[in-house]
Point group: C2
Chain length 480, copies 2
């Protein structure tokens, strides 16, 4: 063991000094991911990937509860398909990766590696759908997509990212609209109940909606520095794809009708949200329900007789109910282990030493508050459950307090500029609905519209930019 290793908590850049470097430090040092020889692509290591697996298991179970079935469509999309819906191709063509040569031959038609799968799925829906009796199709796929971004950043903006994309078609507009919102609700519950991150739910403006969508609903979350992360989206397409892709069916009245379509996605960016919403200067801070290790047992004076036996006994007793790890490494000091697991964000540390054993107790130490709790060994199992819940609640509340604190109301463009520069948070301000006004805000402040929130307030009658009658209150913010 080198001395460096003993000290590595200090190697994490201070969040206040350079949040970008702080983020990268955590990603690398907590062994979530690493850079690869493919520029802009990252590799997910076991600890990072297991967090994603936990998110995936949660979402997958809730999708299935809502009748969604998993499927898989080709990753290669003939270029001509991408071009069938004009907004869609405009949105995605600039960042696709193209395959022109394969199997040693120039291909007759180019393929793009899927940036999203509306087009290839729509061709299949067109083939599969005949009658209203077959509807709805509620399908989802877990896969990765490629978008060749110019500027990349690990997890938050990589050229390939893991996600799920759900694609449904329905017999009526009402049913499709309802399903769009139902999936938004699944995402919302995931952020709140699993990831301990409060959300703002709303609708994207015309300018910010998904390429080809009638309406895009979004989950917006606030990161440590007050910037926004678009955290999941759910789109209502109406018949925008079903018409060019000819997805039609015979309705109950035996007339041909185009289907009503949705799509919805959440990605491994959510891992970025966890880091950026909860992390601190000691490193990663994981919400208990998604943490790969919920409780780490660190024996104190582990060479003393009986300590490792007791630690093992505790481990065996807890592993049925929790994701628990026993750190019995003999080549690291106890102090090193403490800071190592803190940096890796494990929610709860359980210390057990000779004196504890004498007193039939152990010590629980919370990652979020550093609070030490002495617990009788007879009650440790129940106490852990209770404490993990308390950690979840507290982490949620901390984020909620930040969101409240850093959300302000602007009545004028001057206020808007002043607030975004001092608070760097979210701003509520009225909006006329015109792209020009959104462009102007972006130009002046680098903020974009996050959404028209579901719980819209009436602040003013007029647009904060142009002074014309306002249509909506919009939440604005700079973004990742």
């Amino acid at each position: 063991m080198s001395k460096n290793e003993n000290e590595f908590v200090k190697e994490i850049t201070n969040i206040e000094d350079d949040i970008a470097q702080w983020f990268t430090d955590i990603v690398i040092k907590a062994e979530l991911c690493d850079y690869t020889e493919a520029k802009g692509f990252i590799a997910y290591k076991p600890y990072g990937f297991e967090i994603w697996e936990n998110i995936r298991n949660y979402l997958d179970a809730h999708f299935k509860e809502n009748g969604v079935k998993n499927v898989y469509f080709p990753m290669m999309i003939p270029e001509s398909l991408l071009e069938k819906e004009k907004d869609h191709v405009e949105g995605f063509a600039p960042e696709v990766a193209t395959v022109e040569t394969a199997g040693g031959k120039q291909l007759d038609e180019k393929y793009v590696v899927r940036p999203t799968s509306e087009t290839i799925i729509s061709t299949m829906y067109s083939k599969w759908l005949h009658s209203w009796r077959e509807l709805p199709f509620l399908y989802n796929q877990w896969c990765s997509v490629v978008r060749w971004e110019k500027e990349t950043r690990p997890i938050l903006r990589s050229r390939e990212f893991l996600w799920q994309e759900g694609h449904t078609i329905h017999a009526t507009e009402a049913e499709a609209r309802e399903f769009t919102l139902k999936m938004l609700e699944v995402y919302n519950n995931c952020y709140k109940d699993l990831l301990a991150i409060p959300t703002i739910l709303g609708k994207k403006t015309e300018k910010e909606k998904f390429a080809g969508a009638e309406e895009t609903y979004t989950i917006e979350t606030m990161m440590h520095d007050g910037k926004a992360l678009q955290s999941a989206t759910s789109h209502y397409f109406g018949q925008n794809f079903s018409k060019p892709f000819d997805i039609k069916f015979q309705n109950k009245e035996e007339k041909e009708e185009y289907a009503y379509q949705t799509s919805w996605g959440m990605s491994i960016r959510s891992l970025g949200a966890i880091i950026m919403a909860h992390g601190d200067n000691r490193g990663l801070k994981l919400p208990p329900r998604v943490a790969p290790i919920q409780v780490v047992i660190v024996p104190i004076a582990q060479k003393k007789e009986g300590v490792l036996d007791k630690a093992n006994e505790l481990f065996e007793g807890l592993k049925k109910d929790y994701r628990v790890k026993l750190d019995d490494r003999d080549n690291y000091s106890t102090g090193y282990k403490f800071s190592d697991w803190e940096m890796r964000g494990v929610p709860l540390r359980l210390e057990i030493g000779p004196k504890d054993i004498e007193n039939n107790q152990c010590v629980l130490v919370r990652r979020d508050t550093a609070e030490k709790i002495i617990v009788s060994l007879d009650e440790v199992n129940a106490k852990i459950a209770e404490t993990l819940d308390a950690i979840h609640e507290n982490m949620y509340k901390e984020c909620e307090a930040r969101l409240a604190d850093r959300t302000t109301v602007a009545h004028t463009l001057e206020e808007f500029e002043q607030q975004i520069n001092t608070k760097q948070g979210f701003i509520k301000a009225m909006f006329c609905g015109e792209n020009e006004c959104e462009d102007k805000i972006k130009e002046l402040t680098a903020a974009k519209s996050r959404c028209i929130p579901f719980d819209e307030e009436h602040i003013d009658d007029k647009c904060v930019v142009c002074g014309k009658p306002a249509k909506h209150m919009v939440v604005w913010g700079r973004q990742y």
Copy 2:
């Protein structure tokens, strides 16, 4: 409902007339997959995908029991990496898809879409590994790979296929070799215990081993027509990749040493094996433990009072323990439902009608034997468990009998030719180890070596082709 729909079992081509068409008929009509607009790529529909999910869940749990962790590496591999191991690039370069343009620009370096991930993973292992204390790395990823085959076939040979690829490095040769075989055992158990398919385990010949491997171990299974399907492989690489990719560590003696490496994979071809090993002229026949629907409840005279209520009651009582479906569609006849579910391979049908209700009984009908079993409603739950196990056993035994019946011993090349043409099965024959003799067998009979089985027998002293001293007994066969 059209008359055609009522008759569609007859639409499946007879297996004896044209097994290729029979296979395609099942794939399409049982709604496992479908052809797409991307040539050689298929889409997996919910029923097909759910079988794969069940296989995946089984394997994933068993990998994890053996200490394997999931990870994820980029799908794009810089072309230069592929070229580092000479056998590997020779094996895979001819069938890769290449990305030269992305994000609207010509790329400085070409990327290949991963055909397998040894190269990109090896670069990361080289970066991550320092000391023997960190070993072993036992990592696996679930993903899809692209191999641009000239001739494709749904599921069995598609240009993109879903699979898992495990990649491990170890401090000693012995440990790596042991792990290679341990993973082969996981696959073997999966084929036998989950898919009800008997296997032949063995080592590939020099000619047939994986590009870059020191040794390739394989699971070979026999399909309905006596042809072989290579069903999973596990490779021991020795230091073949760790040397060119510089994967080294300080060993316990504080000396630098190259790591010992393995990789192992099983793909969605296993769904093809299920169809081809078990299916019959009535369609798909699914092994109970992997079937998306294990029991389908078909009410008889469902309009009669009380029938649907009772069927629902049964459904509610069974769904905790089984994957069960109630077919209460009112626009299909009972006869149609029977053949529909038979064609889709559901292992057990539960019939419940007015007379059954009067007698407090129901009727179970086995897909494999067509046997009808009258069961008291008080015992139905336990009887289903027992019957599903019996179906599994019987399906396994049927395959085992075929494997025994169609495996012959050839002492001369004439016998070999005669047997392969009459029986189209597996042939046991001695082999000198030279590629020329393997080539000659392929040229004469279209059979390839399947493997040198673990339970090698001594048949002759001499190679069946050249008459020189034999090194091994080899199992030969034509393949999918």
